[in-house]
């Protein structure tokens, strides 16, 4: 029992640090490769859209960014629950590491959406259910970041942030189903957007490749940030001291 306890409290962060820092360059490489192929497919290979013209090419980044903003929020909330339940050091560190990247993908989804909306709808912004709930998602991320990063007492900040994150989960199905629940300006499922099957195939491939790239990127940057957060909070532990010393000797 004691050995198991020791594993969770001491061994896990150092093991995670070693594994994560080693995997980060590979994840960046995977992200870059799939992004380049996605750009080639989406910008050079795919034909134009009959109704939207070439403005439609924004969806190759808009849709994956919007997906990431929701998936990362669920991950943030999930790790917050784990943190709350087990007090595992790694869980809160993961939640904190996810938040800035999730917030960034939310901003990018809103920004690319606005740049798509202007030529296609004739407006940068409407208070439609999909857009409004995505904006609320951004406020949830910012609220979480303010609570956690601004707290004087780290543990209290992380617990308060976890609670906010958990309550905010209700917004995710609202974003996802908003185009079905309300009569919105934002269109429904992206995949049914095109008419000709051949066109749909290239477009779908481009979008899925970009999704792979964004996933790999998110894993890379979140693992990098989690390792740094672990380093900071474990600064007084023997493994961090030993690690820093071994770096200096090199």
């Amino acid at each position: 029992m004691t050995s198991l306890f020791r594993f969770y409290t001491f061994a896990a962060p150092s093991r995670f640090y070693a594994l994560a820092t080693r995997s980060v360059p590979w994840l960046y490489a995977l992200a870059m490769m799939s992004a380049l192929i996605a750009l080639y497919v989406g910008l050079l290979l795919a034909p134009t859209d009959v109704t939207q013209g070439d403005a439609y090419r924004i969806i190759y980044i808009h849709v994956p960014a919007a997906w990431m903003s929701m998936v990362l929020y669920l991950a943030l909330a999930g790790w917050s629950v784990v943190g709350w339940a087990t007090n595992a050091k790694l869980a809160y560190a993961l939640s904190r590491a996810i938040a800035p990247t999730g917030a960034a993908f939310t901003v990018l989804a809103l920004w690319t959406g606005a740049l798509w909306g202007k030529p296609t709808w004739g407006t940068w912004w409407v208070w439609d259910a999909r857009l409004t709930s995505e904006l609320i998602l951004l406020f949830l991320y910012l609220g979480y970041l303010a609570m956690v990063e601004g707290a004087d007492d780290r543990q209290r900040g992380e617990r308060a942030g976890a609670l906010l994150a958990l309550v905010g989960v209700v917004n995710i199905p609202i974003i996802y189903f908003s185009v079905r629940w309300w009569n919105t300006l934002h269109q429904g499922a992206t995949i049914s957007m095109t008419a000709a099957p051949k066109m749909a195939n290239t477009m779908l491939q481009g979008m899925l490749l970009m999704t792979v790239a964004f996933w790999a990127y998110a894993f890379a940057v979140i693992f990098a940030r989690t390792s740094r957060l672990i380093l900071e909070r474990e600064a007084d532990s023997s493994w961090v001291r030993a690690f820093v010393q071994s770096r200096e000797e090199r």
Binding site: L44, A55, R57, W116
Partner: protein, 53 residues
């Protein structure tokens, strides 16, 4: 290849500003965030090694 000329490609059928405005911002952020994180990591390491001395 869908485009006939490079200027067609950059013009994006008249939507160049919107398309490239989207792609540029995404690209800038996806390059900036890892760099910022790398810097923060190095800072954390040197902070710890300074404290140890």
């Amino acid at each position: 290849m869908y485009w006939n000329t490079w200027s067609d490609f950059w013009a994006m059928g008249g939507y160049g500003l919107y398309v490239w405005g989207s792609y540029a911002c995404v690209l800038v952020w996806l390059l900036l965030e890892p760099l910022l994180e790398r810097r923060a990591h190095k800072r954390a390491l040197s902070q710890i090694s300074d404290d140890a001395e």
